[in-house]
Amino acid sequence: MTLQEAKFEYLLRLGDSSLIIGHRLSEWCGHGPILEEDIALINIALDFVGNATSILGYAGQVEGKGRTEDDLAFMRGEREFRNLLITEQPNGDFANTIARQFLFDTYMFFLYEELKSSKDETIAAIAVKSHKEITYHLRHTSEWMLRLGDGTAESHERLQNGLNDLWMFTSEMFDMDEVDTLLMKEGIAPDLNKVKANWEKRVHEVLTEATLEIPTTTFKQKGSKEGKHSEHLGFLLAEMQYVHRAYPGAKW
């Protein structure tokens, strides 16, 4: 595997995760529990889609076959997507969305903190930009973890259920394969073990303060790095890609 191929793969992983979770969050538009939260979720979704635009745009350049961020977002099938499995999981109720968001936001925070010092200038620049926004996202979801976890019996139960269901998708975030190892050697991507240590510490702190139990499931669901996704991605892409594919070449 060449460095260029590894970089392209890696950028797809980053960009696709942001794109898919941005799409999931946008599904809350008009359905938020209160107006301010509706707006908050949409703003966060926008940040993620913006991040995906930058990353996938760069990915297309690295690939060198003339694909734009739109081509990559709208013209690939499930097996070609590299987003983490956790990002495609359905929203469920608000507590489930918060659980998913918190686990992912904490990962993004520590991952992008490392990416700020990537030897690839473009990745570093995008990371510096995005990390500031991710800090706001993490603050928002952390506060909700406390309010729901240390809230009523119902909010506590719903959030604990969400955490329990999603826990099996968290180990995949830190698996390192050939792509990660090669890029780590070049100083472009970080050691995910370091990100994992930071993630575990932070997640445990917040869950404890929120009076929640750290899930004990040891089953690890994986596959996104090979394009093997859960049953949900196909439906998500069908919705997300429909207009673009139905009117090829259309312009506003």
């Binding site: 707006i39 940040d47 603050r139």
Partner: protein, 164 residues
């Protein structure tokens, strides 16, 4: 000779472009417009995006093209640079006063307070009545760059331009 206008004149012209959401400040005061240059026969405008997903950037890009077309420059390329990352530190004190006069509380920090991951809302002065008895309603307001606050004295809601 591509254009009869100098770089300085073009800068001055583009300073007439306001932020689409906050019309009292222009794109130079916000630190969005970074550079104007001519490469071959193309006028290259270099801008820095504020928030990665900011939809106003597209509108600003269109406004730039429209303004340049008015003075006969049609071959335009708008380039986005991410580094150095845009920061609210670049908003001048005069521009901050304009924000306040418009009813938006300007960014009060010199950089993002990283320690405060689970922190409480800071005491902000209400831009309308000046009271510090204000509270945050939501981290995310009408746009990604603003948070929503409420004044407990004059009872009015107001936007806060978040530090980035």
């Amino acid at each position: 000779m591509v254009s009869n206008y100098s770089i300085e004149q073009i800068f001055k012209l583009l300073s007439e472009i306001p932020d689409p959401e906050i019309p009292v400040i222009n794109i130079i005061e916000l630190g969005i417009l970074r550079e104007v240059k001519f490469v071959d026969e193309v006028c290259v405008i270099v801008i820095t995006p504020t928030y990665t997903g900011c939809p106003a950037m597209k509108v600003i890009e269109d406004d730039i093209r429209i303004k340049l077309k008015e003075i006969g420059i049609e071959k335009v390329k708008v380039e986005l640079v991410y580094s150095p990352a845009w920061t609210t530190d670049w908003i001048s004190d005069e521009a901050k006063e304009k924000l306040r006069a418009y009813g938006i509380a300007p960014p009060d920090h010199s950089s993002v307070d990283k320690k405060v991951l689970l922190g409480k809302a800071r005491d902000l002065k209400c831009p309308l009545c000046g009271s510090i008895h204000t509270e945050m309603i939501s981290q995310f307001g009408s746009t990604a760059c603003k948070a929503l606050y409420r004044c407990l004295d004059c009872k009015e809601p107001f936007d806060y331009f978040k530090c980035l």
